[in-house]
């Protein structure tokens, strides 16, 4: 699986409260399988998947397919692993933030997760896709869709109601995240062009001092 025959290595990370279905979501995505037994994730884990990404041009035509090797990090939702899992945030290019539509607290915690991302991700405003999971359990639903939409809009992130059990919206959610990353990548590369642009001086490492440069870099 990990031979080098691909164009891009893209690293995503799933996060969210314990039991919202991060592992199941990723299992569904990579293997299109579902196991209803709950096995808590120990610290961290990852899965891999190859996909072909076709960018769409402004004129609607699609470009050459790019081979993407995805590394999908799964994190433990449990609080006790928090220091370990958040340390892995920095290595991810995009995030799948999951909550459980049948568990209101997991939705309320989305804000906390977002602020954790702001602190621990590679930049202050990374690409995130919000997933309300377990949408197949409609009779146990505890979160209204418009509430979530409102929050997602506030953060400016896409929202999907997903089901790791029947696969609903699982692929679209990841695809949208991939698209966001690929577009960000283009912007970053376009923007970083300064004449003879191979030279970079990194700022001081104090958090407060580097903050300014962070913002400017991240806005790309």
């Amino acid at each position: 699986m990990s031979d080098g025959d691909y164009d891009y290595l893209i690293k995503f990370l799933a996060l969210g409260d314990s039991g919202v279905g991060k592992t199941s979501f990723l299992y569904q995505y990579t293997d299109t399988k579902f196991n209803s037994k709950f096995i808590t994730t120990v610290g961290i884990d990852f899965r891999e998947k190859r996909v072909v990404y076709k960018s769409t041009n402004p004129d609607g035509s699609s470009g050459r397919g790019q081979k993407i090797h995805m590394q999908l990090w799964d994190t433990a939702g449990q609080e006790r692993f928090r220091s370990l899992t958040t340390a892995f945030f920095r290595d991810a290019m995009g995030f799948l933030l999951l909550f459980d539509l049948t568990n209101e607290q997991s939705f309320l915690n989305v804000r906390n997760w977002m602020s954790q991302l702001q602190i621990h991700a590679y930049c202050e405003s990374p690409d995130v896709v919000l997933c309300g999971n377990k949408c197949d359990l409609s009779d146990q639903r505890a979160v209204r869709e418009d509430e979530v939409r409102e929050l997602a809009e506030k953060y400016g992130i896409p929202y999907f109601e997903t089901s790791a059990a029947n696969g609903q919206n699982v692929n679209p959610a990841v695809d949208v995240l991939l698209d966001l990353i690929m577009k960000r990548m283009e912007r970053c590369v376009d923007k970083s062009w300064i004449p003879d642009g191979t030279v970079r001086v990194n700022g001081p490492t104090n958090a407060d001092l580097s903050e300014g440069s962070d913002r400017s870099k991240c806005a790309c």
Partner: protein, 712 residues
């Protein structure tokens, strides 16, 4: 370690709460991640090599001056009409339509810029470039500074997984049992694995529930065995510079390291026999420790993960960390280097010719005297080095005239470049008074100006139209030729007087067709800026990655001197971390260089003693990971100082070869009234950044100057 002083979260992850089986499981994941990362690194490396190829073929560089009416890539003339619409938006070179890449939105870039930006995407550099701003290099905190045990800086691509994995590997009793090291029998290894400790039995249970994990891990065993030979030979090359002194200091750092591994790093670390003995030793030593025999298992765990804070050796990028022993060797080696950073320990190699700055200085004098040199041209660069290293400037000059007829070809069979010197026509008289010439032709395959690169034809007596028909051969692989150029000069042999220079041409090989055997007739040039078409690539000498930090003085303290209490004002220190160089020019056969970096801190009046990194052998992208410490400096002083760092190829028998240099400082000036200091661009901004933020690292990637003479 005092945790509060470490600002980096990842290094402070306290994993003491993990049970043995959890730790096993996590390490298993990290190992899988490591495999993926290895593959990725390999891919990234080959991508970067591709770019380099494209770059080398691209002719103009930002630093040179070229006509606007020729293509910046292939140097074909451009028609006047197209000049206005032919500018690449990124590099601003005018580029012909053949050397463009059209993007989906119908805009275009020149080939090199397109490739560069494509590469930035494919390698993930776009991401790491941003990430490094938040999680960059860890400042060395006070405790470490005191002992000068510099922490290796995290590299741009270092992931959390890698950090964690590495920190566990250093542990003398690794939770992943040692058998991975052994190369011979992976199957029995696995058995040993599960029998070894209660911890790993538990882990086996847990990963049986994940089939793919299990199959992956078995595969990795055989893979790592397969990789071993490659990686360890690399290790061999790298550990080559570990001297006995360093070994000794290593030992003091690693008291808990089992004897076996230390011994193996003293000797050639590759031999399979030693490897297995090593592994067995480790196992034997560790066996009692694997179970929590120690009274306080917490401490073990703490040490396991926090080790990284103290030691955190930066693993060489390309070495499989699956091979635990190798990494351990390497970590020790790099510790050794760091301990060497203490100025007093700076090794002074005996017998090394001190040609660098001094000869540059003396050359500089010569340059000033000879006004015909244009310091801006690459030609003068090459000429300058010529005179330093081989000609010593001791020759007569005559009015150059005549042609050289030659052909260049590459012989695949013998893997060599063949320079056929046919004849010269209408040469000048080398001995003007007697109206005669005894001409011979001399060749260098630049940038190598050493004796090893010199080829001569026979001397033809008493003629200005000598016919040679002699072939000069350079064994070299074809791919390397793109960075080279051939310098052909004609000389008059003065048997009782000095030789006289009769003219020269330089032919860049990156733009030359070496397959069609056509004969060229070129006009000989003097050593002047208008000389031959110097390889534009000669400007590009690679890059040097360094970090600077001014360590502010400790607070004034009172000391008792002769019974009186006196306030002693502390002075600060300048720390210069020489991280790595990239894309150095190959100087040695096999396309490598054995490089080291030399540093001088200069004031208007003097220069400090030189400091050197150890030599990193056979690597054009060497990691030095070495720190120069300049003590007793006040911050204000730095405004009036310059730092010169030069990269050299270590030659055993002859003079070291200059590979490039940088000159840092905040202003222009002269040293001892002779050498002009002209820091520019990043060289200035990095220096200023260092002065602006004491106690934090300023990292920069600086392009290497192709000459240290003013006005690169």
């Amino acid at each position: 370690m005092v945790e509060g002083t470490m600002p980096e979260a990842a290094d402070m992850i306290n994993l003491g709460f993990l049970s043995d089986s959890e730790r096993e499981l996590i390490l298993e994941v990290l190992q899988r991640d490591e495999e993926l990362r290895q593959a990725e690194e390999q891919r990234v490396r080959s991508l970067k090599a591709e770019l380099l190829d494209v770059k080398r073929k691209g002719a103009k560089r930002g630093s040179g001056r070229y006509s606007d009416h020729s293509c910046g890539r292939c140097q074909q003339p451009l028609s006047r009409l197209t000049v206005f619409s032919s500018r690449c938006q990124i590099c601003n070179h005018h580029v012909c339509s053949k050397c463009r890449t059209v993007l989906p939105d119908r805009s275009w870039r020149c080939n090199v810029c397109a490739k560069e930006s494509d590469l930035k995407k494919r390698t993930g550099d776009w991401f790491y470039d941003q990430r490094i701003n938040r999680f960059s290099l860890m400042p060395v905190h006070d405790l470490m500074r005191a002992s000068l045990k510099m922490k290796a800086q995290g590299k741009k691509r270092e992931t959390t997984g890698e950090t964690l994995l590495r920190s566990t590997e250093i542990n003398p009793d690794p939770p992943i049992p040692v058998p991975r090291v052994r190369q011979k029998n992976p199957i029995t290894d696995n058995k040993g694995h599960s029998n070894e400790s209660s911890g790993s039995i538990a882990s086996k249970e847990s990963f049986e529930s994940k089939e793919d994990v299990w199959s992956k891990s078995t595969r990795s065993d055989s893979e790592s065995a397969g990789k071993n030979s490659i990686t360890s030979s690399e290790a061999d090359a790298r550990s080559g510079h570990v001297t006995p002194e360093q070994q000794r200091s290593e030992n003091s750092f690693v008291p808990s390291s089992p004897a076996g591994s230390t011994v193996s790093s003293l000797t050639a670390p590759v031999k399979v026999g030693i490897v297995s003995v090593d592994g067995a030793n480790l196992e034997a030593n560790d066996a009692p420790e694997v179970k929590p025999v120690s009274p306080n298992p917490e401490i073990d765990v703490d040490r396991l993960f926090k080790k990284s804070i103290k030691r955190d050796p930066k693993p060489p990028e390309y070495v499989s960390t699956l091979d635990l022993r190798d990494v351990r060797d390497k970590s020790e080696a790099s510790m050794g280097n760091r301990s060497q950073s203490v100025p007093g320990l700076d090794i002074q190699e005996d017998g090394e010719e001190d040609e660098d700055i001094d000869s540059l200085v003396s050359f500089h004098k010569r340059t000033i005297a000879s006004s015909s040199y244009s310091l801006n041209s690459s030609k003068s660069t090459l000429g300058s080095l010529m005179s330093i290293y081989s000609e010593a400037g001791d020759y007569d000059s005559v009015e150059v005239s005549g042609d050289l007829v030659f052909s260049l070809s590459y012989d695949e069979h013998t893997q060599s470049l063949q320079v056929l010197i046919k004849e010269c026509r209408g040469l000048a008289y080398g001995d003007a008074s007697k109206q005669l010439s005894h001409p011979y032709v001399k060749c260098y395959l630049l940038p190598d100006k050493s004796r090893g690169s010199k080829r001569k034809t026979s001397i033809k007596r008493n003629t200005v139209n000598p016919v040679y028909e002699e072939t000069l051969k350079y064994p070299i692989s074809r791919s390397q030729l793109f960075t080279r150029s051939i310098l052909i000069s004609v000389w008059h042999y003065g048997r009782f007087s000095r030789n006289a220079f009769l003219g020269e041409v330089e032919i860049a090989l990156d733009t030359r067709d070496l397959d069609s055997l056509y004969t060229d007739s070129v006009i000989l040039m003097g050593k002047s800026p208008s000389g031959g078409p110097a390889s534009a690539f000669a400007h590009y000498k690679g890059e040097l990655v360094i970090s600077l930090k001014y360590v502010a003085p400790t607070k004034p303290k009172t000391e008792k001197i002769k019974g009186k209490k006196v306030v002693v004002e502390g002075r600060g220190e300048l720390h210069v971390f020489i991280k790595e160089a990239k894309n150095l020019i190959a100087m040695k056969a096999g396309g490598t260089s054995d490089s080291f970096v030399k540093g001088y801190l200069l004031t208007a009046k003097a220069k400090t003693t030189k400091k050197k990194t150890p030599v990193v052998k056979k690597d054009l992208n060497p990691h030095y990971d070495h720190t120069f410490v300049y003590k007793e400096l006040a911050l204000e002083q730095l405004e009036e100082m310059w730092l010169e760092l030069t990269v050299w190829d270590k030659e055993g028998m002859s003079s070291n070869e200059f590979l490039g240099g940088v000159r840092l400082g905040s202003r222009k000036g002269t040293v001892t009234g002779e050498v002009e200091m002209d820091p520019a661009g990043e060289e200035v901004s990095l220096w200023e950044k260092m002065m602006q933020y004491p106690d934090s690292w300023a990292e920069g990637t600086l392009p290497l100057r192709s000459t240290m003479v003013k006005g690169k």
